[in-house]
Symmetry: C2
Subunit: 207 residues, 2 copies
Amino acid sequence: MNSNKIPEPALRRLPWYLSYVKLLKSQGEKYVSSTKIAKKIDVSASQIAKDLSFVEISGKTRVGYDIDELINVLDTFLGFKVIHKAVLFGVGSLGAALLSDSGLEQYGLKIIAGFDVNKSVVDTKIHDIPVYHSDEFIQMNKEIDAEIGILTVPSGVAQEVSDYMISGGIKGVWNFTPFRIRVPSGIVLQNTSLYAHLAVMFNRLDS
Amino acid sequence: MNSNKIPEPALRRLPWYLSYVKLLKSQGEKYVSSTKIAKKIDVSASQIAKDLSFVEISGKTRVGYDIDELINVLDTFLGFKVIHKAVLFGVGSLGAALLSDSGLEQYGLKIIAGFDVNKSVVDTKIHDIPVYHSDEFIQMNKEIDAEIGILTVPSGVAQEVSDYMISGGIKGVWNFTPFRIRVPSGIVLQNTSLYAHLAVMFNRLDS
């Protein structure tokens, strides 16, 4: 696997192809060409072929890619078939919502525990996921061994909570706050700011 | 307002600045320079000054931007101070989670109703938001007059549900499915694929 070589934009496009070929499979299709994907996905056929060259699959002349194989290879390559353990910091409105989203587990993310400092949520369960006091994390993660930390705390404490998670062994931070946190080299950071996406939508709608 | 001119990358950076200056305000600061923001946010000072030139604010020599004014101007420019009415299609795990996230309303998004075809959720309420059968949307939106449609349906029906929402008057589609939908010109589309972000994180962690 040359997964360490694939550029992020290509990586972000692969789930689109996966989603589309799963739809084709449900419609009874057996093979798909990059040209066919291109017509639906708005990415050029040559770009698609190039993106797919990073995963271990080769198309057959005239028929294209075997759909079952392509789904299997993409699901594996994208990490959706392996369970990755995560914890979530900040069980407020968005945090609790993410704890309730069992769909993430189908994509390989299993949230083991939530952490917060607010007494009203500590020692409760949300969607069967236990919530502990943040102070317990360092000790607890020696057992849990979670590698991903989901950050849904207030912006003002985003950086310090991120630092704290990393000190407890977190290797990847999924930042949902609008705050631009920094992480040490070697730590993976993904930002998902719903509010930035909202801002773009509002601006484009209002102008 | 020259909001129609601002490029999307700049627009996406503005919430970072807003988040940081709100933090400074909470710490008692009165003024902030683009140089100071740059040190924290990892964007060059000249880029920040350029981004902020799209909003109606000017810094003062030596002291920089007035923080209260900057927060007010950014909140307004980003559309967070006006309520934008939305509906949500697909009250599954993620959809229900988003209905439960009252935080979105603080950023100007008010979800008025959910729609689904599944009898087990139709005519229920989630977090006080009523869920109706999707067939009722076209008639109902003549009263509700929502302009934003949140798409959390299964991928296989994402395109048809998006088309349906638009036929009922939706002007902006916020697509949370991994499916790459298409919208007619004049309709605003924002994609937030949690799974694509997960894929990038998994790949970078595993490599």
